[in-house]
Amino acid sequence: MLRLFLPLLLLVALICLALVADRPQPRADFTFINRTDINTLDPQQMSWQQDFRIAKAIYQGLVTSDVFSHDYKAVPAVADRWEISRDLKTYTFHLRKTGWSDGSPVLAGDFAYAWMRALLPDFGADYLGFVEHIRGGREFYQWRQDRLAEFAAHTGAGNDKPDTAGAARLWALTREKFRELVGVSTPDDRTIIVELARPTPYFLDMVAFATFFPLCERVVHQYEVLDPLTGRVSWDQGWTKPPRLVCNGPFYVESWQFKRDVRLRRNPYYWDKDALAIDTISIPTVEDPVSSVLAFRTGAVDWVTDVLAPFRAEMVAQKAAFYREHQSEVDAMRAQGLDPIEIDRRLPPDPRKNVHVFPGFGTCFWNFNCSPKLPDGRANPLADARVRRALAMSVDKRAIADGIRRVGEPVTGSLIPPNSLPSYTPPAGLAHDTEQARKLMAEAGYPGGKDFITIDLLVAKDGGNELIAQSIAKDWQRELGISTTITVQETKVFRERLKNKNYMTARALWSGDYGDPTSFLEICRSGDGNNDRNYSSPRFDALLDAACNETDPAKRMAMLEQAERLLVEEDLPMIPLFCFANMYLFDANKFTGISSHPRGEQLLYQIDLLGDGKGSDLPRVLPPRPQVDGGGS
């Protein structure tokens, strides 16, 4: 019998051993859940929201945006002041004294090094286009591209003549060439002068973006790996892992256990460290949407950043019911223009009020393939703007927002979410008008849908998009007499098909990166890498170009408004459906620091636990909007 039990005992011993070796860490001051783990802590490689959120906590750019102001004003960060030349093309930044988390000072060269990285063809930064706003960026990229091709030719296509010394020489030359070609100069360690290719009114907004964050050259330089066969430079994947990673932001990364937990701790060398009200932040990964809500319910988590549980519409409905119970108070506070989070804070405690829906800086829309030919070679009736307008006017967006999404997202006729940009008012777009839609179809030669092709609606498998497709298909069938099919594909396949324009109509989503209409409009420019619609309008491109060179802000905005009007009222390469909402779960009475601004950016170093005696303990709120047009939930 002992023979039977011995293996069992061994098993138990093994389990105990594994557990002893793997102790959990103590609870952090603030804990929030990321829907999925961060992809990278390399600021020049980031393109995911959860990455950007952490980037803003562990790195700091020259300026940062004030997320508690309506215009997202650029405020001093590593640069304590800056001058802008009259032609809006030269920016001079003066750096303050601040430190990397290893104690070394942040130097002007750290910024130049990071920006050079982003401009390397061998590196593959997703936001290369941002850095190319700097004079000479494009040329530098091309120069390096050509040299790499030469290098590869010289080491042989069969890759048999590695040239270690040659790779090192090319790299040294590249660094020299960067100083020579690109409009970034560092006259001393505390000054950076940036020359732009053309006046870019939103440049400061971009400088607050992760791609423009600095890297500690002294440290990161050590992880450069030069490939003796191709001459390309890469960075050893381990450099972003603590303890190797050094940060210049309010926090540094204390530990990163993949798909488990990221821990941030206050950076003792950060210039404004006394303003921080928390010392540690823990960011566990909880991928299951139900478990993340349950984790919040147990009190282990302070903030859930994406509420995706299947019952989220019911959570929103419960909050509405709670508001109805306090209708008069809510109305009075809304009339004062109070921040929606502040309204929740002032209402009596109730778990129902912990769910928050804020309109975000993104729009969900429906793409049309505007190519002259369909993927199968037939002529494409969708190339006719009248047909696209008709299809757009027959879609009942309310039914989608209120019947399918059910979380109070506002429907939109424009690509750019209203109220998200202070000096820009997007056009209204086309109204839901089935009568007019039928007329347009008849005009285009398809009265009652006669002789029209079967339209396919392509959606990705996840995210409940199939229901939206069904709703749109139903509208097209009923109002215009068009027959439809729906194709559901895996996300990667879906993205690939869009890229190759191998579709007729498809679901899409875009969110802005910086505070300017071009952040949305550029995706419709002819030949843009994100122009999945294959839409090409010389008029639209000309308007964007003209706006590019316009220095008067008011005139520029008018041009962009005209460009968007062309998109959403005449040409309709896409049907704007609804503004994407950010859905959070947190108790407004417990902490402050979350902004309800539609741009949806949150700065973790502004988090302050209320009533803990650390920090000011005063709620941060978005001041009432200057003009009277309500947003918020």
Partner: protein, 335 residues
């Protein structure tokens, strides 16, 4: 016995090679581009081309051989022997850089998580999944064997039928239903246990219990069948005639023989449990490798797919070997 172990271990690389080839052929054919982000921005075409070259994604055969080269440890050895590793390290050091990280079995980078090497992902998640799986197998053994014995003592009695019924529920109820229900009852309503939390023995209880249920149910049925058969055997009658107590008969004589089918089931079961369960790990927020079985395929993360499949295969082979060794040790008649 030693012959068996040596023979099996020698077979291991050949089997893994075949599995690698098959997996790569299938994974390569998954439609979609691994370098595309869902809803993310599209990198510029030259960037994608550069990345494809970097990861050898532009040609099946160059990927096939280069991965085989680095994952099998051949490249590591070659670099060491030819002195290329030392040369690279010296060049890096001379330029003031850190020498590159090297692993003997280099499973490559993750295409989805750009900061992670597959080796690190496995090293972080596999111990967690193995602990959870071991605990689940342990619970399953206790529950299953007990239920099986109870059922076998009085076949078709109320006790037997109810254990069989529970076993049926254990097999057929999906784990995400049981898991969510347990989460709702214990941490949320009663305040026992935390999510997300991993590393305390208590954290193991709910997920291990949930994961054990299907295994326990199967073990219970195997034990019951085996016990009923054994209890009718001649040697049991002899033992009864000799006056051996009923507990002695059950546990010392009958169970020992009835357990052998359970033991052979334990090999694949342990491999299955210890490589992690997608659903249980997801619901209970356990940081194991189970999630990668599904996510890696969806992301077309080639390096991770192959690594996960190879690990599962290795575990399956190793656990079957352990079971065979135990078999011979428990029952020396088997040679």
């Amino acid at each position: 016995m030693t012959g068996l172990v040596v023979r099996r271990l020698l077979q291991l690389p050949i089997i893994l090679g075949v599995i690698y080839t098959l997996t790569l052929v299938l994974a390569w054919r998954i439609p979609g581009n691994p370098l595309e982000n869902p809803d993310g921005r599209r990198p510029q075409p030259e960037v994608v081309a550069a990345m494809q070259r970097q990861y050898n994604l532009d040609s099946f055969w160059s990927f096939y051989w280069s991965y085989l080269d680095s994952a099998s440890g051949v490249r590591y050895l070659r670099d060491k022997v030819t002195g290329r590793a030392a040369e690279q390290d010296n060049a890096a050091l001379a330029a003031g850089r850190a020498p590159p990280t090297r692993s003997i079995f280099d499973l490559g980078p993750s295409l989805q998580y750009r900061d992670q090497r597959v080796n690190d992902i496995i090293a972080g998640g596999l111990p967690v999944s193995m602990t959870l799986g071991a605990a689940a197998i342990f619970i399953a053994l206790i529950l299953g064997v007990l239920a099986g014995v109870i059922g076998a003592v009085r076949p078709n009695s109320t006790a037997d039928l109810s254990t069989l019924g529970i076993a049926l529920v254990g097999i057929s109820l999906p784990t995400f239903v049981i898991g969510a229900a347990l989460l709702l009852i214990f941490p949320v309503l009663l305040g026992w246990g935390r999510i997300p939390s991993w590393g305390r023995p208590v954290d193991l209880l709910l997920p291990a219990f949930t994961l054990s249920l299907p295994f326990a149910a199967y073990i219970a049925r195997l034990t019951r069948m085996g016990m009923i058969e054994q209890l009718h055997a001649d040697y049991i009658r002899t033992a009864r005639a000799k006056g051996v107590s009923e507990t002695g008969i059950l546990f010392r004589h009958a169970l020992k023989n009835a357990f052998l089918p359970v033991l052979s089931y334990l090999g694949p079961a342990a491999a299955f449990a210890m490589t992690g369960s997608f659903v249980v790990e997801r619901v209970f927020v356990v940081p194991g490798i189970g999630q990668h079985f599904v996510n890696a395929v969806q992301n077309k993360d080639l390096f991770l797919i192959i690594a996960i499949v190879l690990i599962y295969a290795t575990m399956l082979i190793v656990f079957n070997l352990i079971v065979d060794v135990l078999y011979r040790w428990i029952d020396p008649r088997i040679v």
